[in-house]
């Protein structure tokens, strides 16, 4: 339970000459949920893009399952067990729900072999997707799309899921469902690195958290500690 699955050391990155992330250090241990919270534009999404290989880091090191993956291509990182659920869902809208899931399963031969088994698991996690299996992904509601995005990523059989803003644009009741599913995913042994603006909800779900401001980590600790942190209370919990 306590072995770190993801270790990030002094990671800096951004877009072109524009540096967004400054000397980031963070750890995610196997089977835990860790959240990264912060305001709009603080660098949350950029952090995820650096981790999943979509952006090349300027410096620093990313170690995943004990292996340095700093300059790997995104596809290789995904096959190695770290899968990114992108912001705004980004489904393959003209493909059916089932085909979206199959794209995830196509990640590696092992994932493809266990496709039906994993599919049963994600349909169980999000029963609504069973009904929608042959529908085009673009015709799903916002909540269903978010569920499909998470389900699709799970089809790759990851050991760490990077989830970007799952609550974005969703009704609170739907967000509850999504968060409940994330908890269930964790109980099945998949670690989750969650990026969220909904700080209260994230801290309730996660074991630990990091607070990012202007590309710097400004606070970290267990969720209980962060809940009591005066700065966090003032800036994010509005109490």
């Amino acid at each position: 339970m306590n072995t770190p699955i993801l270790e990030v050391n002094n990671l800096s990155g951004g877009y072109g000459a524009l540096q967004v992330i400054w000397n980031l250090n963070l750890t995610v241990r196997a089977g835990e949920i860790v959240c990264l919270i912060g305001a709009n534009g603080a660098g949350k999404t950029t952090t995820l893009r650096l981790l999943s290989g979509l952006e090349k880091p300027m410096k620093g090191e990313i170690k995943f399952q004990g292996v340095t993956i700093t300059s790997w291509l995104p596809a290789r990182i995904a096959r190695f067990g770290m899968t990114h659920v992108p912001e705004g869902r980004n489904l393959f809208g003209l493909m059916t729900v089932r085909e979206n899931l199959e794209v995830g399963a196509n990640c590696s031969p092992e994932a493809w072999q266990k496709k039906e088994e994993t599919m049963d698991y994600v349909y169980n996690l999000f029963p609504i997707l069973t009904e929608r299996a042959n529908q085009l992904a673009g015709t799903l509601s916002g909540g269903e799309q978010q569920m499909l995005a998470i389900a699709r990523a799970l089809m790759t059989r990851p050991s760490l899921l990077l989830v970007d803003e799952p609550s974005m644009g969703l009704a609170p009741a739907v967000v509850d469902n999504v968060f409940k599913a994330l908890r269930e995913v964790r109980e099945n042994g998949v670690a989750i690195f969650l990026v969220e603006q909904d700080v209260r909800r994230s801290l309730k779900l996660a074991e630990r958290g990091y607070v990012i401001e202007n590309g710097h980590i400004v606070a970290q600790g267990t969720s209980a500690e962060l809940m009591e942190n005066e700065e966090v209370k003032r800036a994010y919990l509005a109490v």
């Binding site: 393959f92 085909e99 794209v103």
Partner: protein
């Protein structure tokens, strides 16, 4: 069940017609059919690249490369026909992988320009190596199967059948998933484990192989070619137009597009002596406007064909 049976009957009828066609027609129609099948191979090969979101002008280059490699090895090295085709394909694979490795990281329009440059470079090479290629004077080979059109027809039909098999495999295997995902969003596909560069490279190479085969067939069939003809950009553009008008990302679409356009083109060439290309062009514009999904998109309107 009934819905599918009509589709299979149509496919079977088309296949039977394709096989018996040269036996029930004269030389002129055989010749026309041979060129049509050759363009069907080209259009389908262009579509292979399009499926991986590549707009390629390199097909002209691979067509010419196939034509010249096969002609030169046949003439100067005395290779038998099958061996000269094989050498052309092998060289094409090497060139396609090398070119792909250099250019497939480019996206959209940049790749298109690089592929255009590739075709133009090969044209210049063919012109500048008169000792090997005959330069601007061109190259001549003995006629294929002693000019027996029925055999020529059989050969190009066989090449098309092979392309159709490859196309159906691409449509039904994991390639289909990866291609559709990449066309929607390459970056999302990549974080789900789709190695976009590898998929592009394989579709590009497959695509190059069939353009090369069409070119190799072409030079032996017409018995002579010059660089400006074998490396004519119109070949690549025509393949693109046929694939787009027939319906992209499908097997039936590009083949149907080639057949329909070739028939229309030939009919107008014969009936309208002057300026038939203007009308042909207008027809293409109308096609793109009214059939945005190509001829195969029409089946959505005529449900019984589905």
């Amino acid at each position: 069940m009934k819905k599918y049976s009509l589709k299979y009957i149509l496919v079977a009828a088309a296949a039977i017609l394709a096989v018996i066609f040269p036996f029930i027609t004269g030389e002129y129609y055989r010749h026309l059919a041979i060129l049509t099948l050759m363009y069907a191979v080209l259009a389908l090969s262009w579509d292979f690249a399009a499926r991986a979101e590549l707009v390629s002008f390199a097909h002209t280059g691979f067509f010419g490369l196939g034509a010249y490699t096969s002609a030169v090895t046949f003439l100067k090295l005395d290779f038998p026909l099958y061996l000269s085709f094989t050498v052309a394909v092998l060289l094409t694979i090497v060139v396609a992988i090398a070119l792909g490795y250099l250019t497939l990281r480019l996206s959209g329009i940049y790749f298109a320009i690089a592929s255009l440059a590739f075709s133009e470079v090969l044209l210049v090479v063919a012109l500048q190596l008169p000792k090997v290629t005959g330069g601007a004077m061109g190259i001549s080979v003995p006629s294929l199967f002693g000019g027996m059109r029925v055999y020529c027809y059989g050969l190009i039909l066989g090449i098309l059948a092979l392309a159709v098999v490859v196309s159906l495999y691409l449509e039904r295997s994991h390639f289909h998933l990866a291609f559709s995902a990449m066309r929607t969003s390459p970056s999302v596909a990549s974080v789900l484990g789709v190695n976009t560069v590898r998929y592009r490279l394989s579709s590009f190479t497959l695509s190059a192989i069939f353009s090369c085969l069409a070119g190799a067939f072409y030079v032996h069939y017409t018995t002579t070619t010059i660089p400006y003809e074998a490396f004519n950009l119109n070949i690549g553009v025509a393949s693109m137009v046929m694939a787009v008008l027939g319906g992209l990302y499908s097997t039936v679409g590009p083949v149907l597009g080639a057949i329909v356009l070739k028939i229309i083109e030939e009919y107008m060439r014969v009936t309208i002596p002057y300026g038939y290309m203007i009308i042909y062009g207008l027809l293409l514009v109308a096609g793109i406007l009214f059939l945005p999904k190509g001829l195969v998109g029409v089946q959505n309107k005529w449900k019984f064909l589905k």
